[in-house]
Symmetry: C2
Subunit: 212 residues, 2 copies
């Protein structure tokens, strides 16, 4: 189970046909109907675990892992739920699916859901795939590395790319074999980008290169 907060997230989950077990809202919250359990401010705050919950809150069953079919961002050890949610939001914006693996944050935690701003409900999120699985299913494994890789524009030539975004602390793992490596060119002396930013830029470039 997980917890959704705010009318947008709760609405998106409902529209996507997700299983909502219970909804809690303030007495005067008109964004939900009769199905909502009306609670006091204090109870809402306790349930949400935040100081100023927006409400409504919905308890939702975590959807099962959905096999990705389109090119995807692969969060590979992305530990921060905010970064993971941002990657999901960007993947959706640029028409990609998402794989979450290798000790990444929980894709369905409330923090990840908040950062993704509803993106969870417009893309496939696969949580049980290994890179070998993906390769076996025809994906080209692309590693994002801080130096020495090809210009990201080569992504446009790949039909089904699985773009690996490594952990905040360690980047792309050295012991993973990729089929291709790309590097986002940066100014001299710059070690790295924020993980969510790096993945989002590659998703943008993938989408832009396919258009042109």
């Amino acid at each position: 189970m997980t917890l959704l907060e705010g009318p947008n997230l709760v609405g998106a989950a409902r529209d996507a046909g997700c299983r909502i077990e219970a909804v809690f809202a303030r007495e005067d919250d008109r964004t939900v109907g009769d199905e909502a359990v009306r609670v006091s401010e204090q109870v809402l705050r306790h349930l949400a675990g935040t100081v100023h919950p927006r409400g409504p809150l919905a308890v939702m069953g975590v959807p099962v892992s959905q096999p990705v079919e389109r090119s995807c961002l692969v969060a590979f050890g992305v530990a921060d739920p905010g970064n993971l949610g941002t990657l999901i939001r960007s993947a959706v914006a640029f028409g990609l699916d998402v794989v979450v693996t290798h000790e990444s944050a929980d894709p369905w935690s409330p923090k990840t859901l908040r950062a993704a701003a509803g993106g969870h409900f417009s893309t496939s999120i696969e949580t049980e795939a290994t890179l070998d699985d993906l390769r076996g299913r025809g994906f080209t494994i692309v590693g994002a590395v801080p130096r020495g890789g090809a210009d990201p524009a080569v992504l446009g030539e790949i039909d089904r790319a699985a773009i690996i975004v490594g952990s905040e602390a360690h980047g792309f793992p050295l012991d993973v074999e990729s089929d291709m490596e790309v590097t986002i060119p940066t100014a001299p002396g710059v070690e790295s980008l924020n993980a969510a930013v790096a993945g989002s830029i590659l998703a943008y470039v993938y989408s832009a290169s396919r258009r042109s």
Copy 2:
């Protein structure tokens, strides 16, 4: 005054010639020298305000506003210090300066500093400029809007661009007159990107278009 945490930030500030007033570190912290005041774990935690401070901690005078000269990202009401820090980190990576204005988060708060990963010390950060000031100094004001703007690739044709990144909640402000508007193309139905991601993608495109 502000507070820097961790050997990388403290080192970057010192290398940049910033005024460090005091350094606090654990007894066994060898990343700093004799100038550090040695404190207990408990005192370090109290000073840092975080549960697991890395140490060392340095108290630093906030540098004065530095006029930007290169093209820049303009944080215009970016309220989240994490987003603001990420924008600063990306600006540095792509060779841009930074303007922080219009009720954005404090660029020198500890959270912003952490998210920028040392970027503050490799770029100009101007905190007292209005858009009219920038225009008067020869900058082209570019608004990032969710729809209807030109493809970001036009950024490559601008000599000195001031790229406005609007607030997380409201985006580019309607009452601001820009000289040009750009839109990052996204999938149908997608309302917006994370503010730090949008600014970072535009910084990337600016840098990539100038190279090609």
